[in-house]
């Protein structure tokens, strides 16, 4: 599992193999030069009793300086050529991941939280990058240093090496136990932190309810408990974190102690020169880094492996909505839409929509109304293929929409929803979002049609005003009108307005409806609305309740018969009276 994941990510490294090669060579050279330094010291110390001349001392110092300079240069080389590619790999993976995000459809986005996706695209990829760069590097480094230090130490004194390395198996055992526990502890701590997050989030979202029912103190108590749990889990993890590095330096100290103790006696008995003794200690000191380095790599690879899995999970997701491949004839669509026994179920028994049959003629205004949760929005997401129905077929101009490439299909349909998503860009950029280029005149015309003119005049920079956090904050009505302009500028054959006027006052709505009627006579309009007044131009109205069509007819016909439409029509005319009399 781990290996196959690793393969995928290592394939990213391949593009930078030249740089990686330079880096690796530099790394090995760094180690080689590094190993030479204690050797020079050994020669120096062994020479000292012979009273070396000043020139000889200078040669030693110079050799050392030279070695260090080269070591520095090589070290620069690997830092640049091993870390560099890992950054570039990160860049490539992030790009590919974003490309993949663009392909996935709503079936994916409904299951996943944005925060989670974001953390995979940032934190997890960073862990993968650290593992691929730092991790592999340290691994290689440790390998080279351990092998060569070990060989040199054996060369100096096999007996001393054996003795000094006695505590090392203990490190390995400790290490093995430690890593098993620490990843578990990490997971628990992360979960507890997520619980704290969730609690804060719920508290904030429901703050009005909590305050109205005077539950602040209770919530604080609950939070305190959660906080205590987090603290105790964290302390358990801390114990692990505290014990490991401490024992590591303890055991390394033990090795130094043995080398001093046994080695010192060897020097006295004449089996070892003082220089060799000092060099031996130097190599032992050099080993302390790789010993910890292995722990570090292990940690990185633990994190890296779980991160790789999380990133891979996304890459292995496939869009549920498959686009018809190939290029369909660039039809001139008329805008006829037909639903044939369309059903949508969310479980074995549970139907959200059942057996809907509906034909909408080109250029017709079709009104749709019904209570929240009746299935109106779901039904009209089908033509766009945001989701596919469980059963039944939908036809555009008699062609099954599954036979049309997605891009072509979506080009024909303009869609405006109740709470439209606008990007933090200028109003102009938001309007031309779905078209390649548009001249100033067209944009202004469309903005006028969508009833945006008064707003744009009031904005500091007109059409170039930034929207969202960095600019003006828009009212719901302004957002709806910008979204309408964004849809209209594409000149769609079918316009689906899903409660798209809910935040507009009656007069603005009237003005915009008239505008649409005037310029888009051939456009098929589907007007989903709760407000009866919005339906004033609808040729026919469909009433939906509990996933079925419960009424159909003109506004007058529906108002004449008992049922949902009559009821809301009555209630709303009272409301209208309220507004008329009291404002």
């Amino acid at each position: 599992m781990f290996v196959s994941q690793l393969k995928v990510f290592i394939s990213y490294l391949k593009a930078y193999r030249k740089e990686m090669l330079i880096g690796m060579v530099a790394l090995i050279l760094t180690d080689v030069v590094g190993l030479a330094i204690p050797w020079v010291l050994k020669q120096f110390i062994d020479k000292l009793p012979n009273k070396p001349s000043n020139e000889e001392l200078l040669v030693f110092a110079g050799l050392l300086g030279l070695a260090a300079t080269f070591q520095g240069l090589f070290r620069f080389g690997w830092r640049k050529y091993i870390f560099g590619p890992s950054r570039k790999v990160e860049f490539d993976i992030v790009n590919d991941l974003f490309g993949h995000f663009l392909k996935l459809d709503s079936s994916f986005y409904q299951k996943k939280k944005i925060g989670d996706l974001l953390s995979r695209a940032t934190n997890d990829i960073r862990s993968v990058r650290d593992f691929l760069g730092l991790g592999l590097l340290v691994l290689a480094d440790c390998f080279v240093v351990i092998i060569s230090c070990f060989s040199l130490m054996i060369y100096i004194s096999p007996k001393l090496t054996l003795m000094a390395f006695l505590p090392l198996p203990l490190i390995s055992i400790l290490f093995y136990l430690y890593t098993k526990k620490i990843s578990e502890g990490h997971r628990i701590v992360q979960e507890e932190l997520a619980n704290i997050s969730d609690m804060v989030q719920e508290n904030l979202s429901g703050i009005r309810t909590l305050h109205a029912y005077v539950q602040e103190e209770k919530e604080k108590e609950k939070f305190e408990k959660q906080n205590e749990v987090y603290l105790s889990k964290n302390m358990a993890l801390t114990k692990l974190y505290a014990i490991f590095p401490t024992s590591l330096s303890f055991f390394l100290g033990l090795a130094t102690l043995i080398s001093l103790w046994i080695g010192g006696k060897e020097v006295i008995s004449g089996n070892l020169t003082l220089g060799s003794f000092v060099a031996f200690n130097g190599y032992l000191l050099m080993l302390s880094w790789p010993m910890m380095g292995i722990g570090y790599v292990f940690n990185l690879s633990q994190k890296g492996a779980s991160a790789m899995k999380r990133v891979q999970d996304i890459f292995s997701e496939q869009p549920e909505i498959k686009s018809k491949l190939g290029i369909a004839p660039e039809n001139d669509f008329k805008g006829e839409l037909e639903f044939q026994s369309v059903s949508y179920r969310y479980s074995e028994q549970g139907f959200h929509l059942k057996d809907i049959n509906l034909k909408i003629k080109p250029g017709q205004w079709m009104g749709v109304t019904g209570p929240i949760g009746a299935g109106k929005s779901t039904l009209f997401k089908f033509p766009l293929r945001v989701i596919d129905p469980t059963e039944g077929q939908i036809y555009l101009d008699g062609i099954s929409i599954n036979e049309l490439p997605l891009e072509l299909l979506r080009k024909q349909i303009g869609y405006v929803e109740q709470g439209p998503f606008l990007f933090s860009a200028t109003i102009r950029e938001n309007i031309v979002f779905g078209v390649e280029l548009s001249d100033e005149k067209t944009i202004e015309e469309i903005a006028f049609l969508a009833g945006l003119e008064p707003d744009i005049l009031a904005f500091p920079k007109g059409l170039d005003t930034m929207v969202g956090e960095k600019g003006v904050s828009l009212s719901g009505g302004q957002k709806q009108r910008i979204a309408l302009a964004r849809a209209l500028i594409r000149k769609p054959k079918i316009l689906i307005l899903d409660d798209a006027f809910s935040s507009l006052d009656i007069e603005t709505e009237e003005k915009i409806l008239k505008n649409i009627r005037r310029v888009a006579q051939d456009t098929t309009v589907i007007m989903i609305a709760h407000r009866v007044s919005t339906q004033r131009y609808s040729d026919q109205i469909v009433v939906m309740e509990n996933g079925r069509i419960s009424g159909f007819g003109s506004r007058e016909q529906l108002e004449a018969q008992d049922g949902y439409f009559k009821e809301i029509s009555d209630a709303q005319s009272f409301q209208k009276g309220l507004e008329a009399f009291l404002s």
Partner: protein
């Protein structure tokens, strides 16, 4: 834009006020903190003992051929190791304990403070931002307390300790080594200036990338419907590549600086060999001292390298704590009076006396409103959108305080009641009820454990809520998903009505839902409301004529003014606004 924000933070990094405020949080643990610092000192000393012991072994025993002396040194070394282990271990645990507790305190304080904020605060501050404050920012601060601050201490100790030992061993040689330091200082300065700039730019690029990513993930549906995938990809790639180039720049500085320290370290050793070797030849210095110097020099440059890197941790922690303190410093808008009336609300009589209220200065949305609702009466408030209906409710619940005039419950001025007391006998049913991701029972009783399951079941039966609850697999213990997405609108409303009933209020506030539910559920809700209102004082923000006709009293609001108030019958006789409204409706 983001770059500007980054810059702003940068300016204030050196704010010592913030720093000393962080230290304030250590106060409750000052003894432990002191102990921790002492242990740190001890463990640093133990670290330094190694090379010194090696020096003693070489000069005093190896040179003299004293085998027992070596044993003695080895034994002392072992003791030092054991001490060092104990010190370091205890110290790490202690510091983590302190850090975790400080975090807990800070989190508790932040959480409690958020609960003190008024509704207008939550309108301005998105939920995500508040979560970042209480969770992420606090975590960052912990990192600084436990690793940053401690490592800096230990690095400083080690640095000072090494110098002390070196001076003690041979001050002349130490001074010679000091020749390296000016170069080191220049290199460090050179690095810090550039690295800081690169890091700052890097941080703002990361923010930009994350913002872009978040926005695009949220708006993915829109991107796909408008066939914008290719262009969004190009935009993303260009932001990403800007980030990459900053990344590589920071990397380059780092790749130059870190190895340069090693060169300086070797330069120092070279000096030891050349100068110290000469001294040895002249008999001025012992061999062990030379060896100790070389070993200490290796240790000397580690803390210097460390300190340069720790700088970043400190910087981001100060930025985080600044954001936390900003939140903690946001004043509580509605303070409880210093002396509150203990009187309990028993009857539920409500009186508004010439109440004026403005959200923004002098922009009054409630103008001189006065009315009385007696115990057990029901009042329907009617008015157009923005006429001040909800504001009136917010004032009654003490979510805001009027600028002029007074509100009284049971003849007690609201200003003399604590928020808790004022709200304790009021149940407010909101227009769009909030459902917690918990089970049904917890959603009804909230945190109030005095309300037993039996009470909940009988309340549900009497309101008809049990009809849908008993159909759920786990009945009352069935959990509802976050934001109640598995419940229908009508079910959520019934649940919130039941919640209001089990709290057995004297005053019921009902914000009638405008959204339409199917006919069957609607009649269920209407029945539940009738039962709930019985025997209680109730205020209903009404949207339907049927609801209004059931109320005793009517209040007609127009642009913040109470244009008509009175009993249903009286208003009809009066032939004013209310009469016309009903007339208009019936004539339609």
């Amino acid at each position: 834009m983001t770059e500007l924000a980054g810059e702003n933070l940068e300016e204030r990094y050196y704010d010592w006020a913030v720093f000393s405020r962080i230290v304030q949080y250590l106060k409750p643990y000052q003894l432990l903190a002191l102990l921790s610092v002492l242990l740190l000192l001890g463990s640093a000393l133990c670290q330094l003992a190694g090379p010194y012991l090696a020096k003693i072994a070489i000069d005093d025993y190896i040179a003299a051929g004293n085998l027992e002396g070596i044993d003695k040194v080895a034994f002392i070394f072992l003791m030092v190791l054991i001490c060092g282990f104990t010190f370091q271990f205890t110290q790490t645990l202690l510091m983590q304990y302190i850090g975790q507790n400080v975090m807990k305190d800070l989190r508790r304080e932040t959480f409690a403070h958020i609960h003190k904020m008024s509704f207008s605060f939550f309108d301005k501050n998105p939920v995500g931002k508040m979560i970042t404050r209480t969770v992420n920012d606090v975590e960052v601060l912990n990192e600084m307390l436990t690793s940053g601050l401690i490592l800096i201490f230990s690095d400083l100790f080690t640095l000072v300790g090494i110098f002390g030992v070196l001076f003690y061993l041979n001050w002349k040689l130490t001074l010679v080594i000091c020749l390296v330091f000016p170069f080191l200082a220049v290199a460090t300065h050179f690095y810090r200036v550039r690295a800081r700039d690169a890091l700052r730019k890097n941080r703002s690029h990361v923010t930009r990338l994350n913002t872009f990513l978040q926005e695009n993930l949220s708006g993915m549906n829109t991107i796909q419907l408008f066939n914008r995938q290719r262009r969004q990809y190009t935009d993303f790639e260009s932001i990403n590549s800007e980030k990459l180039s900053e990344d590589l720049r920071a990397l380059h500085y780092n790749a130059v600086y870190v190895p340069s320290i090693d060169v300086f370290s070797a330069l120092g050793i070279g000096l030891v060999i050349w100068y110290g070797g000469g001294e040895f030849v002249q008999g001025e210095i012992q061999l062990g001292v030379l060896v100790a110097f070389i070993q200490y020099l290796n240790k000397l440059f580690e803390p210097i390298r460390d300190l340069a890197e720790k700088f970043n941790i400190i910087q981001s922690a100060v930025a985080s704590s600044e954001r936390i303190f900003e939140l903690l410093d946001t004043p509580e808008e509605i303070l409880d009076p210093p002396q509150t009336s203990d009187q309990k609300i028993e009857r539920g009589k409500i009186e508004f006396r010439n109440v004026w209220f403005a959200y923004k200065e002098n922009d009054y949305v409630i103008k001189d409103v006065s009315f009385v609702v007696n115990e057990g009466e029901s009042l329907a408030i009617i008015g157009a959108t923005g006429s001040g209906k909800s504001t009136l409710i917010n004032l009654l619940c003490k979510f805001y305080e009027p600028q002029k005039g007074e509100i009284l419950i049971d003849e007690i001025p609201l200003s003399q009641l604590s928020k808790k007391n004022a709200r304790s006998r009021i149940s407010w049913v909101q227009q769009d009820p909030f459902i917690f991701s918990n089970d049904i029972v917890s959603n009804i009783r909230l945190g109030n454990d005095d309300i037993e399951q039996e009470m909940i079941e009988s309340a549900s039966r009497s309101l008809g809520t049990d009809r849908f609850i008993i159909k759920l697999p786990d009945k009352y213990q069935n959990s509802v998903k976050e934001k109640g997405s598995s419940l229908s609108m009508g079910e959520k409303q019934l649940l919130s009505l039941t919640r209001a009933l089990v709290f057995n209020p004297r005053i019921l506030i009902l914000d009638e839902a405008t959204s339409s539910v199917d006919t069957e559920t609607e009649s269920l809700i209407q029945n539940a409301i009738k039962k709930l209102v019985m025997g209680r004082t109730s205020i209903i923000v009404a949207h339907r004529l049927s609801t209004i006709r059931h109320a005793n009293k009517i209040a007609v609001l127009k642009k913040g003014e109470l244009v008509e108030f009175g009993l249903q019958e009286d208003l009809i006789k009066q032939k004013g606004v209310y009469y016309n409204l009903i007339y208009f409706y019936n004539q339609r």
